[in-house]
């Protein structure tokens, strides 16, 4: 971004004047910090996604960079809304309250309350449903957008299975699965990957002793790196065969590896 503080201050002051409607000459430290973060957020958005603040003759003025960044934030919010509509189409919560509350009840509140102008860095929601990707470096609409991408990947993965199968796996994992605050996709993926490892149809739920032993040897008795590599290869083949080699889904599912390698999949 490369702007000096002296260049940013007039931008912050202008935003503060707009906020107070020119009817207050001062604001609290907290508000001033909020506006500075808002300006930086928009400028970063421009750098990351919306364009570049550096032009052939040098960099564009800070005010211009902020305004372009603000437009980029608005664009991102619109993209997030489109993505949300896409996610809602045929969305299933499998009876899990946390997933339902976060996606169906929570996300609309974000679009209702998000303030792209004066507080674009505010995510508004706590996003209680845990996804398989670390979103802690994202805030504001960026975080919501990334969260929705995760939910879309989960929907894509889970959508290939009958709802009754997903619910059976969840029930097997936790009889009170409706109230658990855990990732649904991760649990189902753990169960599915066991079937894939022994090449057993999903309709056959029970594993023989030999099959269980093979799964344990593969996932738990090798050193962690080797097990991870094997899991990655099996997942790659699985996504290639059943999900058209979707790179986004493959990357997303790798987020479940640690959980699978640390804890036994629910089918064992």
């Amino acid at each position: 971004m490369g702007y000096e503080m002296e260049e940013l201050l007039p931008v912050v002051a202008k935003l503060a004047r707009k906020y107070t409607g020119d009817e207050s000459t001062s604001i609290t430290y907290e508000k001033a910090e909020q506006f500075m973060e808002a300006v930086l957020y928009c400028m970063n958005e421009l750098d990351r996604f919306g364009g570049n603040s550096v032009v052939p003759g040098g960099k564009i003025p800070a005010q211009q960079a902020y305004e372009n960044g603000y437009k980029a934030v608005i664009r991102k919010a619109r993209q997030a809304l489109e993505l949300y509509h896409d996610v809602l189409h045929g969305f299933a919560d499998y009876g899990n309250h946390c997933l339902y509350d976060t996606v169906i009840r929570g996300i609309p509140e974000f679009f209702k309350w998000y303030d792209a102008e004066f507080e674009p860095q505010n995510t508004v929601l706590t996003l209680d449903y845990p996804v398989l990707k670390d979103l802690s470096s994202y805030t504001g609409v960026d975080r919501i957008y990334e969260f929705l991408r995760c939910i879309r990947a989960e929907k894509m993965f889970l959508g290939r299975f009958p709802e009754t199968y997903v619910r059976d796996v969840l029930r097997n994992y936790d009889c009170q699965y409706q109230d658990m605050i855990e990732n649904v996709c991760e649990i189902v993926f753990g169960a599915v990957i066991c079937h894939v490892l022994v090449e057993k149809p999903l309709s056959e739920q029970d594993f023989s002793e030999a099959e269980e032993a093979w799964i344990r040897r593969t996932l738990f008795q090798k050193d962690r790196e080797e097990a991870r590599n094997q899991l990655a290869e099996v997942t790659r083949l699985f996504v290639e065969n059943y999900y058209g080699n979707d790179a986004g889904l493959l990357e997303y599912l790798t987020g479940a590896f640690d959980h699978i390698l640390l804890y036994q999949p629910p089918v064992l």
Partner: protein
């Protein structure tokens, strides 16, 4: 977050702005020397820091001077001290009123009470009038938006004031009986 950038945000031309008020206040017998103006500006910065506020536009000192310069309770002897105290009170109550009130509304309210209820007593203005008004605003009162801060205090006054109409009625009765 480091607050040094907030100091940079403060306007640097406050001194000239305060000195310029002499053109208006001279007719009320109020004039600031350059050292007076410097003192006001220094105390202004101190008051802002004390109340954890940052100023980004025209300074409040000039607005306070223009609002209060015709007061019957301000003369050349107490002028500088009064302006300094009014600045402190102003920022204190911007915070106490949660920034719900605009600068002009607050100044109108302060001036009106200073003249009519407090008779120039800044302690009464701060500790009673503004305190009562701030409590009402924090509780959700917003009638000052329609009135611009004028004629508000009687709603929140806890003291029975001298009733001029009753006094005149009684005086008439006594004199003309």
């Amino acid at each position: 977050m480091d607050h040094t950038w907030m100091d940079l945000l403060q306007q640097q031309n406050l001194l000239a702005e305060v000195m310029k008020t002499n053109q208006t206040t001279a007719k009320y017998g109020l004039v600031l020397s350059e050292s007076d103006a410097k003192l006001i500006v220094a105390e202004h910065s101190h008051a802002l820091r004390e109340q954890r506020r940052v100023e980004f536009g025209q300074g409040i000192a000039g607005k306070i001077i223009y609002e209060f310069c015709d007061s019957v309770y301000i003369d050349q002897n107490n002028y500088v001290d009064t302006v300094i105290q009014l600045q402190e009170i102003f920022y204190l109550y911007k915070n106490e009123m949660l920034d719900e009130i605009t600068d002009d509304e607050l100044l109108h309210f302060m001036k009106e009470q200073f003249e009519t209820v407090c008779f120039g007593d800044l302690e009464y203005l701060q500790g009673t009038c503004l305190n009562n008004f701030a409590q009402a605003i924090r509780a959700g009162y917003d009638g000052f938006r329609r009135s611009q801060g004028y004629g508000e205090y009687f709603r929140f006054d806890e003291v029975s004031r001298w009733d001029y109409e009753v006094y005149l009625e009684t005086l008439k009765e006594l004199c003309w009986r």
